[in-house]
């Protein structure tokens, strides 16, 4: 395994936390520059993929067990859709963020942030799920 050479292991240990942070930075700075939930989700997932590559799928699965990825998947989507429903209860149309606050501007801002977060969560969950499944598949096959 490549981890035996330890170069990869050390470097990735070093880099994974910053990558994750960078992902979250992209997540929350989508308003100001390029980026947003989707990109953030992918980057977050790629940090994870890096981890899985270096430390193996099993360890990765321990960090993100099936229930967690599932929860991430569902929670993000629910968050997004839930905001819409919430605005509906506040008297606006579906996804009308202006309702979220007295000041429409602040409402929009809040709404965008929340839904972007939802997007990010789902995307990260989805990407991690997909990758781990693709890789986890190997063992099942080899055993047969």
């Amino acid at each position: 395994m490549l981890t035996k050479t330890s170069i990869l292991r050390v470097v990735s240990k070093l880099l994974i936390p910053p990558i994750m942070l960078f992902a979250l930075y992209v997540q929350f700075h989508g308003d100001f520059g390029p980026g947003g939930g989707f990109q953030a989700g992918v980057i977050f997932a790629s940090a994870f993929i890096l981890y899985a590559l270096i430390f193996g799928v099993d360890n990765a699965r321990k960090v993100a067990p099936a229930w967690l990825t599932r929860l991430m998947l569902a929670a993000g989507l629910l968050l997004f859709a839930g905001v819409g429903v919430f605005t509906m209860f506040l008297g606006g149309d579906y996804l009308d963020y202006s309702m979220l606050s007295k000041d429409p501007h602040a409402g929009q801002h809040l709404g965008i942030n929340i839904i972007e977060f939802g997007v990010g969560t789902t995307v990260a969950g989805a990407m991690i799920t997909i990758f781990l499944i693709f890789d986890g598949r190997l063992r099942a096959e080899k055993k047969d």
Binding site: T3, K4, T5, S6, I7, R9, V10, V11, S12, K13, L14, I16, P17, P18, M20, L21, F22, L24, Y25, Q27, F28, H29, F32, Y51, F55, N59, K62, V63
Partner: protein, 168 residues
């Protein structure tokens, strides 16, 4: 725990550098992000001396300029070789024993070697490096052991504990 905290600190700095916006809202988000990242990192078990080598950072800063100079020199050398019509290369595979104590040090050394053009680390195992060198100049520079010594110094001579490697 200490590592986690310091990681948090470093990440916080990174956040500020990246963001460049100092509004309360974003700072709060940044804090939240850091907590999330640290939690995940903890789960991943990457927070240790290896993964977060805060203890060598100061010495490393001094090492960098030297390395940069080496890189420039090596670049010049390799560029000359490439551009000369005959491509006068003398590729060699060398085996070198690194004198560093920790694996982190080995990695540091190996990467420095690779970073300088003309030499590429092919393999690193328990302090034994196998290096591919392209030119005589690179070979000489490598065999002189200068870099080895410097990396060892960065690592910190007093630090003799070998990190147990649970992933091997």
């Amino acid at each position: 725990m200490l590592h986690a905290l310091s990681l948090g600190g470093v990440l916080g700095l990174l956040w500020l550098l990246l963001s460049g916006i100092f509004e309360g809202w974003l700072l709060a988000l940044g804090l939240g992000s850091i907590i999330v990242v640290v939690t995940f990192a903890n789960r991943m078990d990457v927070i240790d001396r290896e993964g977060h080598p805060i203890h060598i950072s100061w010495r490393a800063l001094l090492y960098w300029p030297w390395l940069a100079r080496e890189i420039v020199k090596a670049n010049w050398d390799v560029a000359r070789v490439i551009l000369s019509p005959k491509i006068p290369i003398t590729p060699k595979v060398l085996r070198i024993n690194a004198t560093q104590v920790t694996e982190l040090g080995h990695v540091f050394y190996a990467n420095s070697i690779t970073l300088t053009p003309g030499t590429v680390t092919l393999s690193l195992k328990n302090g034994a490096l196998i290096v591919h060198s392209l030119t005589k100049f690179a070979e000489k520079g490598l065999l002189s052991g200068e870099m080895d010594r410097r990396v060892h110094a960065v690592e910190g001579a007093d630090d003799n504990t070998v990190i147990s490697n649970e992933h091997v």
